[in-house]
Symmetry: C2
Subunit: 236 residues, 2 copies
């Protein structure tokens, strides 16, 4: 048994009991699921899986944040989604695929459980609520992608960046003194890949907003002080 894959001698049931895909299951079922799982820690920037690779395993992110990115022929990166702890990822099987549709990169140090994809059908049929919840997850992500498309198609860069920031604080925001901070390190470059612009433009926008007191920002850290102002900007 690979040391990197089995950091804990025995995974605790409380890891899963409160997570939606597993919340309807009893102790015994959770035990079975955990005994089949591999647990692994990932460094920041690690690739959990790569676009086009065969989808051997599916994952539950226990801790950390993951960016789902695609890389173009010319090497540009486009971020499709951010996934916070508590969600499934790499669930290619749920959408009838044999390969991963994108690359998953950790935005922070992260911990994930994973199972071989051959167990997928068992999970779906045996475990009450698992199918429903995963399809909800899919639906939610489809909705996000849709929104993304509409934004890219109709909004100005300023609006897109404002909206991206709002979405980030909604999904992964942490309440702090004087505002809400994005809970993981994020660079101007990351934000530009999320909003289809350049790091320069993002930098200019953030500088402007900081002058107006809407946000505060250090290197890799962004705190939103006046969400409402961003909402206004986001509308146009």
């Amino acid at each position: 048994m690979d040391a990197a894959k089995k950091v804990l001698p025995r995974l605790d049931e409380s890891l899963l009991t409160h997570l939606p895909p597993f919340s309807k299951l009893d102790r015994r079922q959770i035990r079975t699921i955990l005994d089949q799982a591999s647990s692994r820690r990932y460094e920041v920037g690690a690739h959990i899986f790569e676009e086009e690779d065969p989808a051997d395993r599916f994952f539950m992110l226990l801790d950390g944040y993951v960016r789902v990115v695609r890389v173009t022929q010319t090497g540009e990166q486009v971020t499709a989604l951010h996934i916070p702890a508590g969600q499934l990822l790499g669930i290619a099987k749920a959408i009838g695929r044999e390969t991963y549709p994108a690359t998953a990169v950790t935005a922070t140090e992260s911990i994930a459980l994973s199972w071989p994809t051959r167990l997928w059908d068992t999970f779906v049929t045996e475990y009450d609520g698992f199918a429903t919840e995963t399809y909800k997850t899919v639906g939610h992500r489809v909705g996000e992608m849709n929104t993304r498309i509409v934004e890219l198609a109709t909004q100005q860069v300023e609006q897109r960046v404002a909206n991206a920031l709002l979405r980030l604080i909604n999904q992964t925001g942490r309440k702090v003194e004087d505002g809400i901070e994005i809970d993981f390190p994020i660079t101007r470059q990351d934000l530009s890949e999320l909003t289809a612009t350049t790091l320069h433009t993002v930098s200019r926008l953030l500088s402007g907003w900081e002058k107006q007191g809407f946000i505060e920002s250090k290197r890799k850290r962004i705190k939103v002080c006046d969400p409402h102002a961003l909402v206004e900007l986001g509308q146009g």
Copy 2:
């Protein structure tokens, strides 16, 4: 029984037997499915269902083409997908949603069968291959949306329009004298909604390509004569 909903006294089994979601089923099963279906004809431009409406029914497009569009607060339309005959649509339930995520507008006169959403679970559990095929459809559409996002994020207008045209002839092209024609009427406006640009720019591009002999185009009709040239343009 509403005359508009039951145009045929009895639907023929051959309608469904060759379509992937139903191809593994026997005559008796198909019969049951058809007996529960409503069949309906839609004028061009008709809305089969609307974004945010409760997903009462799911559909199989038997004939025609459908555009899946979203409308922004400001009234702009963005086309997310084109769906050709033979595919399911309105399958909100497959992605755990209670409402339709977008509006479906017919691009030609069309015919679709539909079933009440309460039958969805029965279809998924009772009919062999139905679930697998529908999830493949979902996966395919997710892939397309992903591609769309990457294109919008990284490509120039010229490349996007070229790629959109190529995708249209792949999905819905009809081989004709001297080229491949898009099999349904499509305006410059439609193309601009598909590529997130303006009808003016699309018009300029198409005029240019026509001069160079890559395409021929009449009102609402586009024929691609030199697909390879468009592929080149699409790369950048």
